[in-house]
Amino acid sequence: MKRILFALLLTFILAAPALSKVSVGQPAPDFTLTDSNGKSRSLSEFKGKIVVLEWNNPECPFVGKHYGSGNMQRQQADATAAGVIWLTINSSATGKQGDIDGAAANAYIAKVGAKQSAYLLDPTGRVGHLYGARTTPHMFVIDKAGVLRYMGGIDSIKSTDQDDIAKATQYIPQVLAELGAGKPVSVATAEPYGCGVKYGS
């Protein structure tokens, strides 16, 4: 009993982690950000569609692994062709690595042949914190009812080697296929890996 009281007391003292906690099975929180074309976009505008969130930093070698190999672009193209909305989000703080404006984001998209629905700019890190985005890449999948169904790493082998992509389980196509077939999501969370998101200090 004393142990429980003690733990309860500490629960109030212990500071909550600074990144918010979203949970699989819970509604994904709404947000509004400006895209690379200067247009305001909200998660809620895509209700009724499956939405993939992809945290991005063009200068991170882990992002480079998945774009340099064409893996990310292929997954974006396959998903959007099937009616899925793919939102790439950049939460690098102003002046930190990866921080880009709309024009630079569009140049990056053209250069790598990216196929997302929109590239959203989050320089204050507000949405990154809301979702608890900690690495680039870091992935989330939201179903048509707005419920979070996957969060975590892009695949199962934590490395910067492009050779590992073919050997790894790619979680996003797997989740999308299971959602499309009405099956339970077999892997709902996987530890994300990558560079830390460059939040402001």
Binding site: L19, R134, T160, C195
Partner: protein, 259 residues
């Protein structure tokens, strides 16, 4: 110590050292020769530029642990990397565990009993690592060492004594880990518990990487961690490294399923 290292480098072939961006990586041997039937200690020596770091076995919220792939002759076997106690690297909302400055990662190599004194052993090691300050740069280096086999053990490199002192010390402390809602509480009991200032969990996907709340009550030290967002099921046991200032200890506690 630097003179000894310089002497070692004169003896070693150039491929034993690689000066990658921001970290110099080299392969060191504790002794100048290998002895048949005796475990030899080799080590990956990392010299970081100021403010740059590489990662511990559990890198924390981001990053990658350093990995070594060995090329050894038949009959030789490499053990696991001995990880010196890491530093906590606080990047605001994100936490990492790793190393700055100079660190040696020792690895035991089993030398077969029938190895022939007077011959030379060719050992290869490919080191993969991520060196970061704010930005991160992946590194991959191929290192080699050609070491003579000798019946006699010769003078040791002081570098390894320092590394051994930085490895967490084994303990006989008792304790357990329990899950309470979204917290993980580790209790440690022992007459000789030091004033623990920080703790790092080796297992990934168990705890949130923020510093735990540490309290002492009647000879029991309690470490209260928030649960990881990626926690799925409790493992049978939890491995931690606890620190009191410059000293560190490794602890293994069973994970108790009852609240």
């Amino acid at each position: 110590m630097r003179l000894l290292l310089a002497l070692l480098l004169v003896v070693l072939p150039p491929l034993a050292v690689a000066d990658d961006e921001h970290v110099t990586v080299s392969l060191l041997s504790e002794y100048a020769a290998l002895v048949p039937g005796k475990t030899a200690w080799l080590g990956l020596f990392l010299q970081h530029e100021p403010h740059w770091h590489t990662y511990w076995i559990n890198p924390g919220d981001s990053g990658l642990p350093t990995k070594i792939t060995w090329q050894l002759p038949p009959g030789y076997r490499a053990g696991d990397i001995g990880w010196p106690a890491p530093l906590r690297i606080d990047v605001g909302d994100l936490q990492n565990f790793g190393y700055e400055g100079e660190v040696l990662l020792p690895v035991p190599i089993d030398v077969p009993a029938d190895a022939k004194p007077g011959t030379t052993v060719h050992i290869g090691a490919q080191a993969k690592y991520l060196v970061c300050r704010e930005e991160c740069i992946p590194g991959k280096t191929d290192l080699v060492l050609d070491l003579p086999l000798s019946a006699v053990r010769e003078a040791a490199s002081k570098q390894f004594e320092t590394a051994r002192a930085q490895l967490p010390q084994a303990t006989t402390w008792k304790g357990d880990a329990r899950l309470h809602d979204d917290k993980i509480e580790v209790a440690l009991r022992g007459a000789d518990l030091p004033p623990i200032s920080d703790a790092y969990v080796v297992d990934r996907k168990i705890v949130n990487y923020a510093r735990p709340q540490i309290s002492t009550n009647n000879g029991t030290v309690t470490l209260l961690f928030a649960k990881s967002d990626y926690f799925t099921t409790a493992p049978p046991q939890l491995d931690l490294v606890v620190r009191a200032g410059a000293r560190a200890w490794s602890v293994r506690v069973p994970f108790s399923s009852s609240p």
